[in-house]
Structures are given as C-alpha cells and as structure tokens.
C-alpha cells in the first residue's frame, strides 16, 4: 500500500509539479489549496507526510502546522514547510510552530522526494527498533 502524502500550496503549478514527482515515486498524493482544506484532508486521509506552503490564504502554513502539532491524532505527521523567504525569521516562526523540516523556494522536486523517502524509512526503522525493544522487554 502506497504511503500517503499531502501537498498544500495555493499555486497550482507547484501543486502540479510536486504531485507529478511524488506520484512517479509511488506515493498516494493528496492536494489542498489553502489551510482549511489542508486540515480537512489531514483529518480525513491521515498522510504520513505533509508538504506545506507558508504563504496561503485562509490559514497560513504556520497556523496549520501549529494545529497539526497540537492535535494528538495528527502530531506524528511529518511537516515539511515550504518557505518562500529563506529568511531567519521565517525559520524561527516555523520551528516555533513545530515544523519538522524546511524547504526554501525555489526547491528541487526530486530533492523533496528524496527527503520524504529518507524520513519515512528512518521513521519505519525507529518504529521497528522500538517494537524490538518492546519485544525484548516483554521477554
């Protein structure tokens, strides 16, 4: 079963390019064009990774990120913030909102795919090792 990824941006071309590369990489890609829509999809689909643009109408990326990280059900979603500003202040705000990673526009789509693979793999390994630990403890 393919991993689910949510891509959120108000720019249709960016949605198009990210969706294209992620689908080619074998992910089940969901799209949202603003913050509210993103939260809806997040709750419905429970993607493992969310690529989230910062500058959007109807709740910006930071706000969405804060809600995700404050929600026990959604907290484990890996949030990758797309910042157009590459400025320190944007990064600080993102960290405060609880973002897991930052990508600065203009980004490389293949790099994003790469990172998502790595993240999911690491997460799986972590989960596996934790499970292993649990098993040993049970013994």
């Amino acid at each position: 079963m393919p991993e689910r990824v949510l891509v959120v941006d108000d720019e249709p071309f960016i949605l198009r390019s990210l969706s294209f590369v992620l689908e080619r990489a074998g992910f089940e890609v969901h799209q949202a064009r603003n913050g509210d829509e993103a939260l809806e999809v997040l709750r419905d689909v429970r993607p493992r990774v969310c690529v989230l643009d910062v500058m959007m109408p109807k709740r910006n990326g930071y706000e969405v990120c804060e809600i995700v990280k404050g929600d026990p059900d959604l907290r484990d979603t890996y949030v990758m913030l797309l910042t157009a500003k590459g400025q320190e202040s944007a990064r600080v705000r993102g960290v405060k909102a609880g973002a897991d990673e930052f990508m600065t526009k203009p980004f490389s789509p293949s790099r994003i795919v790469e990172r998502i693979h790595e993240v999911l793999h690491a997460s799986d390994a972590d989960r596996a090792s934790r499970a292993a630990v649990q098993v040993t403890e049970l013994r």
């Binding site: 990210l18 294209f20 789509p109």
Partner: protein, 606 residues
C-alpha cells in the same frame, strides 16, 4: 381883786400848761395812726387846756362854773387815754417780743445759712481746686494712658508672637506634649506627637488624665509620684499605652508653668523605643524618597514628552519599515513562486525523460508562462522602485488622447481574445489634446484594460472611454468591466501593492499593476479612483483623470521633451545609458506583455 394869787389860779395855770405840754408830747410821740389811746390822751389834754383857760377867765369869781367840770372831763379823758395807752403799749410790747423772737430765729437761720454758705463756698473752692487739678491730671493722664496702651499692645503682640512660637514648638516637637490641670492632671491640650505616640485622637485625649495614658502595671507611678516629679523637675520612666494593645516606653518630665490660679503642668513624653527612632528615620527617609520621586517624576514627565515625540517619529519609521518589509517579503514570495515552477518543471523534464510528449509539452508551457510572469514582475518591481526613487522622469509631449487609447486597446487584444472578452474604445467626437508622457499613459491604459479583462466574465465587454474630466479641458479615461467587481471596502485598497482581490491564482497578475497606475497618474498631477459598476453593482469602473494642457504647463515637475527628438528616444538623463534603455524598454513592455502570452499557441493541447 386882791392882789394875792389864789390857789385855784395856780392849779388852772398848771392844768393849762400840762394840757399843752401833754398834747405836744402826745402828738410827737403818738404814732401816725389813730388809736383809742392817742384819742383819749388828745382829748384829755385838750380838755385840760380848755379848763385852764376857763379857769383863768373866771379869776376872781368865787366859783368857776366851767373850769371844774372841764378839768374833771380832762381827768377822765386822760385816764382813759392812759388806760388805752397802757393797753396799747402792752400789745406793742407783746408784738415787739414776738418780733424779737422771730428776729432771733431769723438771725440764727441766717447764721446757719451763713455757715452753710461758707462751707459751700469752701467746698466750691475745693471743687474748683480739685477741678483744676483734675484738668491738669486729666491731660497728663491721657498721655500716660496712651503710653500704657501702646506698651500693653506691644506686650500683647510680643506675647502673641511668643505664643505662636511656643505653639509651633509645642506642635512641632518630636516629643509628645500635654498641658495638664494641676490638680486633676486632666489633659487640657495635646500636641500631634502625643496623638501619634498614644495612637488616640486628640478628641479622645481631651477627656483623659495623664494617668489614663499609662499602661497598667505595678511599676507605674501614681498621681502623687507625678506631682512630686513636677515639684522636683525629675524625669520619670513610664509605660504608655499605644492604641489597643501596644505599649511604648516613655521618659516623662512634668514642669509647672504659670503662677497662682493659672498654674498648669506641662508634661513632656519622649518615646525611648528604638522603633520610634526607626520610625523617625523611616519618615525622614520616606520624605527624602518622596522628594526624589517627585523630582524623578518631573524628569520623567519631561522625558515622556520627548519620548512621545520620539515614539511618534519611531512609529512613523516603523510603519515605513514595516511596509517596506512587507513589500520585500511579498516581492520575494512573488519572485520565488514562478521561479519555483520554472525550476521544478525544467528539472522534471530533464530527469524524467520517459514522460509522454503531451505532458512534456504541458510542462514546457508552464515554464514559458511562469518565465513571462517572472519578467513582468521584475519589470514592475524595478519600475515602481524607479518611480519611488524619483529617478523616473516623464518625457512629456502633447498628443491626442484618443490615439493612445486605441494603441492600448490593440495591445491587449491578444489577451482579450484568449479570455473571450470584447474590448472597445469610445474615443468621443473631438480630438482631445493631452500633455503627458505618452508611453506612461499607454502603460497605464494597458494595465487598466488588462486588469479589467482578467476579472471579466467570458463574453462580456470591456469599454475604454475618453472624455472630459471635472473641467472641460481635463482628460478622463474610464475603463468599465462587467466582471465580479470589487467590494466597496476594497475600492481604496486595490491601489496598494500586492493587494489583489483574491483571484484564485488564475489571473496571473503581479499585484503591482494598479500601484504602478496610481504612480503614473500621480506623477502627472492627476487622480485615479475605482468605483463599483453602474448597472446594479456589476463589474467595476476605473477612472484616471489628467490635467488640461494649460494646467499641465503650470506644473514644473514635468520635464517637457526636447522638440527635436521623439519622446521615446529621449534618454532619461538621471540614469546611466543601460538603465535608461531598461527603463524605456520596460515602458514598452506592457504593449507586448499580453500579446505574447496570448499569441503563444496552445501547443500542449493541440
């Protein structure tokens, strides 16, 4: 006749003489008024005389017929006269005695009155003397009295001054002080310090004796001890109640003040506790601090004034900086977005060589569109920056306002066709001269038309009217569309940078077009505003009005173009050659901006 004198003759003569003599004596002696005595005597004497005379006449006759009876009658009359005289005399005597007695009484009265008179006289004299002395004394004593009064007044003043001083000492003393009645030791008067020490108010204290102030305890002095202290002038250590539960160690001295009936006692109570000293120090410190606080507050007020000025300036600067920041971050975002698309899709095309041709074509299309968008944006940003820096000069010439409207309309024709929108110009019937920078006017109209087309519904019409403004010589361009319109609240805001009405990302504007329009109009001394559409609020209307030719000549910040050169060819003197080229090329840019977009064939879908 016998020659010898006979006896009856002698008798007769004697009678006669006696009668005459008695009559004379009586007449002499007799009082003027008639009385029975004098009448009798007179009658007797007269009869005597008569009898004598008769006797003489009858001399020789043996018998004397008349002389004898007459003589007898004379004797009777004389006798009667005599009796009456005696009676009369006795009456007179009696009267005389009474008169004498009266006189005596009178004399005594007179004497007495005289005595009284003398005494009165003496007294009067005395009075006069005393009056004189009194006068003297009075005038003397007036001066003396004056002097006395002055002395007394001075003494009084001195006394009241002293009284005030004493009062000040009394009231200001750190020690508690009380004036006591000598016998009862009742508090007649107390000073504020005593009020503080005892914690009672002055009214309460007035009802108490000094004994009431003392705390209960075996070591406390009694009334007699206090009075002995007063006599001996010795200090006494006592404990005084403070408020309900506290006690204060006090050193008390009592002194007698005044004399006799007025004598009172003055009790002085010195608080010997450390706390008191601490309190006093504390009060001093507090006073000092208050002073410093007041001074600091004054300084603070001044500083606050300065500060508020600085704050205002700062707020203005911050606002400007914020706007700048916001603008910069907006520009950054707007630049990165098409750049991201270009980079993403070109990378996909490179890395995913296996992609089917239709999709490759779609991606190329996107790259092309986004590079166009990027170009527009960069041009607009540079344009605005130049205008803002005051570096963009107008190249002014005089031309027909209708011609430039036609040019603008034809330059947006491609976009209009693509969006299925009709663009028409209503140029008015007469030529309207406009004195302005023609390229800028065209840029303005292209922006307004492009904007209208982008927000128009399919099949609707965009109209550009050229007409008179507020005054007949003014030029007003009006662009009407029948699109979704602008909310009334945003009519002002649309001219702000990046204040796009949410266009769903489809319109592809830069968010700077209307800002540039406003700058262009402002540079020409005109005005620009937006309205909601006329027919039932459908669509929107943009007006741009420019000054008339004469009016525009009066403006000195527009530099007229040299007559010999064509306006577009004239270099911008404030800029270097390359920049001036950039400027003029970008001014022309809007003309082909939409046509190139529109002319790009939809290869992907062919």
């Amino acid at each position: 006749m016998n020659s010898t004198v006979s006896l009856p003759d002698v008798f007769a003569t004697l009678a006669f003489l006696t009668g005459v003599g008695g009559g004379v004596v009586t007449a002499w002696l007799a009082p003027r008024r008639w009385s029975p005595a004098t009448l009798g005597l007179w009658l007797g004497y007269t009869l005597l005389v008569a009898s004598g005379v008769l006797a003489v006449g009858e001399t020789g006759a043996a018998e004397r017929p008349w002389a004898g009876p007459l003589a007898s009658a004379a004797v009777v009359a004389l006798a009667l006269g005599g009796v009456f005289s005696v009676l009369d005399l006795r009456a007179r005597e009696k009267r005389s005695r009474m008169a004498h007695a009266d006189a005596e009484t009178l004399r005594r009265d007179i004497d007495r009155l005289n005595g009284i008179n003398v005494r009165l006289e003496d007294e009067a004299q005395d009075l006069r003397r005393r009056a004189r002395a009194g006068d003297e004394q009075r005038s003397g004593s007036g001066v003396a009295l004056e002097a006395t009064l002055t002395r007394q007044r001075r003494a009084l003043e001195a006394a009241s001054a002293q009284g005030r001083r004493h009062r000040a000492v009394f009231d200001g003393a750190v020690e508690g002080m009380a004036l006591l009645e000598r016998e009862t030791l009742r508090l007649i008067e107390v000073n504020p310090s005593l009020v503080r020490i005892t914690g009672c108010d002055a009214k309460d204290l007035a009802t108490k004796t000094v004994m009431d102030l003392l705390a209960a305890g075996p070591g406390q002095p009694g009334r007699s001890d206090l009075q002995r202290c007063a006599r001996e002038g010795r200090a006494l250590s006592v404990c005084v109640r403070r408020g309900e539960s506290n006690e204060v160690p006090i050193e008390m001295t009592i002194a007698v003040v005044g004399e006799g009936e007025d004598a009172r006692l003055l009790a002085v109570l010195r608080d010997t506790s450390d706390r008191h000293v601490v309190e006093r120090d504390h009060e001093d410190a507090v006073r000092g601090l208050r002073d410093r606080v007041r001074r600091l507050e004054e300084a603070a007020t001044q500083a606050a004034d300065q500060n508020s000025n600085l704050e205002q300036a700062n707020r203005r600067l911050t606002e400007i900086a914020d706007r700048k920041d916001h603008y910069l971050s907006s520009v950054s975002h707007e630049l990165r977005t098409p750049l991201t698309s270009i980079r993403s899709f070109s990378e996909i095309l490179i890395k995913h060589g296996e992609t089917e041709p239709a999709i490759r074509r779609e991606f190329l299309d996107i790259i092309h569109k986004e590079s166009e968008r990027l170009t527009r944006l960069v041009n607009n940003v540079l344009d605005l920056a130049r205008i803002e820096a005051g570096a963009a000069k107008l190249i002014v010439s005089e031309f027909d306002a209708r011609g430039v409207a036609d040019d603008a309309a034809s330059s947006v024709q491609g976009l209009a066709t693509e969006r299925k929108v009709r663009v028409s110009v209503r140029p008015g019937d007469a030529a309207r001269p406009l004195r302005a920078d023609r390229d800028r006017i065209q840029q303005l109209l292209v922006n307004l038309l492009g904007n209208a087309i982008k927000f128009s519904d399919d099949g609707s019409e965009v109209v550009l009217e050229v007409g008179a403004g507020d005054r007949p010589d003014r030029i007003r361009y009006t662009v009407r569309d029948h699109g979704r319109g602008i909310p009334a609240a945003d009519l002002e805001r649309v001219f702000e940078r990046f204040q796009r009405v949410d266009d769903g990302g489809g319109a592809g504007g830069t968010g700077l077009g209307l800002s540039i329009c406003r700058e262009i109009v402002t540079m020409h001394g005109g005005r620009i505003w937006a309205e909601s559409g006329d027919d039932g609020g459908v669509g929107s209307v943009f007006h741009a009005e420019f000054p008339g030719v004469e009016e525009s000549r009066g403006r000195n910040n527009m530099r007229p173009a040299p007559a010999t050169t064509t306006p577009t060819a004239a270099p911008l003197p404030a800029l270097g050659g390359r920049e001036s080229f950039a400027a003029s090329s970008q001014i022309r840019r809007p003309k082909d901006e939409f046509s190139t977009t529109g002319s790009l064939p939809p290869l992907g879908r062919s």
